[in-house]
């Protein structure tokens, strides 16, 4: 079909083969598919149960979901679930709340004051990577074997990441907005409250997501040392008795705690960041 006729004069000629331009965009676009997430869970648990029932998965290797659920039901019936859960929740709520609040305050100080930044930022960077669980013996000496050391572990563990995300958030607030505030003669306090804090809030909230998970991890670790009650203590006990069904039940409770926390943060983001799309 290739000849030397100019294209312009032959644009609609019948002999030329015509076809639509193939679509090649798309992909890389995340679409919300609400049904898939629960479906994945259901399918995995169903396969796992099937494997246990048929003997493909030995009960010694992994207890079946129904056994684990049975262990959970026993825990519930004995009334110990609430004892464990309330002990854990109390520790995590106090530790996380105090740690995050202090972290936001110190993060704001580092973000807003050159003196605080010069003095505290290197300190934070130096202490942040230390696994707080390694300091637990020290915390026990300082704060006692009881609640103090466990709350302190969670508090320290959530404090440092919150500091870092908060001052990162403050640094990322649009300088032009701050200059605008100054040019209209707003007070320092107003600029912080109405421009810097809302501007840093997305970063602070995503920091909360991370510190929440860290809090759960540290909770279990702290409760494995010298705690009578708590989900971590329950899991440790189950582990030392090789009661794997109880162990799975305990781990599932932690997982649900994490999901609940993520849901709460998600609601907070929807509420506070409703100005975003």
């Amino acid at each position: 079909m290739a000849d030397t006729r100019p294209i312009s004069s032959q644009s609609q000629s019948a002999e030329e083969p015509a076809k639509t331009v193939p679509f090649r965009g798309g992909g890389f676009v995340v679409k919300p598919l609400g049904v898939i997430a629960p479906l994945v869970f259901v399918v995995i648990i169903a396969l796992w149960e099937l494997g246990s029932q048929t003997g493909f998965i030995s009960g010694l290797v992994l207890p079946s979901p129904s056994e684990s659920f049975e262990a959970f039901r026993q825990l519930f019936d004995s009334g110990l679930l609430f004892v464990h859960l309330s002990a854990s929740l109390q520790r995590i709520v106090i530790g996380w709340t105090v740690g995050s609040t202090l972290g936001i305050i110190v993060g704001l100080m580092i973000g807003l004051s050159s003196v605080a930044r010069a003095g505290l930022a290197p300190l934070v960077s130096a202490i942040f990577p230390i696994p707080k669980i390694a300091l637990l013996p020290l915390f026990i000496i300082w704060f006692g074997i009881g609640e103090g050391s466990k709350v302190a572990t969670i508090l320290f563990g959530t404090f440092f990441p919150t500091v870092i995300t908060t001052y990162g958030g403050v640094d990322n607030v649009d300088r032009n907005l701050i200059r605008m505030g100054q040019s209209f003669g707003l007070s320092w306090m107003s600029i912080v409250r109405k421009i810097i804090l809302p501007g840093a809030l997305p970063a602070i909230l995503s920091g909360c997501r991370i510190s929440g998970s860290i809090a759960i991890i540290l909770l279990v670790a702290a409760e494995m040392i010298g705690a009578e009650f708590g989900i971590g203590a329950y899991i440790l006990m189950a582990g030392s008795l090789f009661a794997t069904d109880q162990l799975i039940a305990g781990v599932a409770i932690l997982s649900v705690m994490g999901l609940c926390f993520a849901w709460v943060i998600g609601r907070a983001e929807k509420y506070f960041l409703n100005w975003r799309t």
Binding site: G181, S183, L186
Partner: protein
Amino acid sequence: MDLHLQKLSHDYGKLAVLRDIELEVRSREIVCIVGPSGCGKSTLLRLVGGLEQPTRGQVMQIGEPPAGCLNPLTYIFQDFALLPWRSVKGNISLVLEDRGLGRGEAEEIITDVLRRTKLSDFADAWPRQLSGGMKQRVAVARALAVKPAVMLMDEPLSALDSQTRELLMDDLVELWLTEGFTAVYVTHNLAEAVRLGHKIVVLSRRPGRVREMVSIDIPLDQRKNHVKELDDKQKLLWSMLRDEAMAADQELLDG
């Protein structure tokens, strides 16, 4: 209230940005500042409004700002600088909140400026819902709310497409005819300068000096009927700027 810039010079470290700027801004006058990119136009505007301190020289306020003026020197920024977490109304109320005004009084001012900028229907919209032109209208409304003595406009139309720019220019002319505001208007667009400026200051390339001062006597509302004269002025300005712009373009930025 008039402004007098006296021997204004500014350096960033070793880099000389502005040299001996001498300029008077009279009440009810729009002074346009044009110059090649990087000549310190925006720096000059920041010095005028007190957002930066000049290395040498000073900016003098001559006379008192008019009664009821809340923020004598008020900026309008190129990137609008609206808070995305506040509605149109909230963005305007932001600049009234520290002034000790009663709720009713602030509400009155907001309603008034929204009406004057034809934004009354958009009071509760979020900035993200607005087009660029509408955002800049909100910024103009916000500036009007503090009853400025002098508006400092930093390339206010440069982030907009040419059609929106045309519309907003008409709005500014209309606003000037009804209110007679005073403004220092920085732009790199010569068409804007000849449409809005009573006085046009041409800066040289860095370090910026006043190279030329051009006055246009045609009243703002009649400029659309004097296309020829404006065109000549624009060509004149371009002939002054051309060599400066070319030289500025070929400079290394950190040289």
